[in-house]
């Protein structure tokens, strides 16, 4: 097993693991973290080549995590009751963010979110009962979350 010790200043464990796994597949064993004051360890298979290690470092450098949260998971489908979606980024140079909202029936809406000091919000209402899925657009190396709100 190879352990790469790397400082990862902006770090979301599950997101980065998924991003590394999509590139390295079974060559990635996992990521261990010991807090902000110490480098993290990227555990790679003994057979990981120098090119693959370089690929891992490139994924880490591009890691741009976004956290998404909801203030509630159920609303009335009356066009008035709203759920507030909050996004926060860690990197000061984070890429723009947009949400993809999947409505009951499958139709999708995309909404760009403005960030102020790394935080942005969006209030969503619904008139169609059902479950709405909310996720980040272009989530690779940024988010693995899909949150759901039920309108009834």
């Amino acid at each position: 097993m190879i352990g790469l010790n790397v400082r990862i200043p902006y770090f979301a464990s599950g997101v980065l693991d998924a991003a590394l796994r999509s590139v390295l597949h079974e060559k990635l064993i996992g990521i261990s973290d010991y807090g902000r004051d110490r480098p993290s360890t990227i555990w790679l298979s003994e057979s990981a080549t120098a090119d693959e290690q370089a690929q891992a470092l490139a994924v880490i450098q591009a890691h741009d995590p976004v956290s998404i949260s909801l203030d509630k998971t159920a609303i009335a489908a009356n066009g008035i009751d709203a759920v507030t979606v909050t996004l926060s980024v860690l990197r000061p140079d984070a890429a723009p963010v947009a949400l993809v909202i999947t409505q009951p029936g499958g139709a999708q809406l995309t909404q760009a979110i403005d960030l102020v000091n790394g935080i942005g919000t969006l209030a969503l209402t619904a008139t169609i009962p059902g479950t709405y899925a909310i996720a980040l657009q272009n989530p690779a190396n940024r988010s693995i979350e899909t949150l759901r709100v039920t309108a009834s």
């Binding site: 599950g14 693991d17 996992g30 261990s32 807090g35 902000r36 004051d37």
Partner: protein, 165 residues
């Protein structure tokens, strides 16, 4: 640190000297009353996390104990608060680099997710030769998701080792 001197086979006619008594009685008593041991209460100021699905050291520097032993048996104890990801996770201890249990899922853990539950276990390591031995806490997640071990001023990891015989 007192040292243990293997006791002589006493033969009839041997003159017992002060050196003999100090070495084999006083010295060995002192050793037995203060066997090699180390206790760690680890405040890492930040929780440990891993997504590794292979056993890895929790903290190769700070959750590691080396004992210089005269006896052949040590007891290792571990306690902490862990959050398990989906499908769970597991703990083991290495003895001089080799996992104690050797089992796929180590010594203990659980097979399902949960937040903030107690992990506590002790093991008896036997058959050790006299000399230096290193014990390290290891863990792995059952699947590639984040497993967390709390290690802050509010909740520390307890890791200890003691020669018992």
């Amino acid at each position: 640190m007192p040292t243990f001197t293997p006791v002589l086979a006493w033969n009839a006619g041997r003159i017992v000297t002060a050196t003999d008594l100090n070495t084999y009685v006083s010295g060995n008593d002192a050793y037995l009353l203060n066997r090699p041991n180390q206790k760690i209460l680890r405040n890492n100021a930040s929780n440990y996390t891993t997504t590794s699905t292979t056993f890895v050291d929790v903290d190769t520097t700070n959750l590691a104990i080396t004992l210089v032993m005269s006896g052949g048996t040590a007891e290792i104890k571990v306690a902490g608060i862990v959050s398990y990801p989906a499908s769970g996770g597991y703990f083991d201890v290495t003895v001089d680099g080799t996992r104690y249990s050797g089992a796929t899922n180590g010594i203990t853990g659980q097979d399902a997710s949960s937040g903030g539950v107690c992990i506590a276990f002790s093991i008896l390591v036997t058959g050790l030769s006299a000399g230096s031995h290193t014990f390290k806490l290891q863990w792995r997640a059952a699947t590639a998701a984040t497993m967390t071990l709390q290690s802050t001023s509010a909740m520390q990891v307890a890791f200890s080792a003691q020669e018992v015989s």
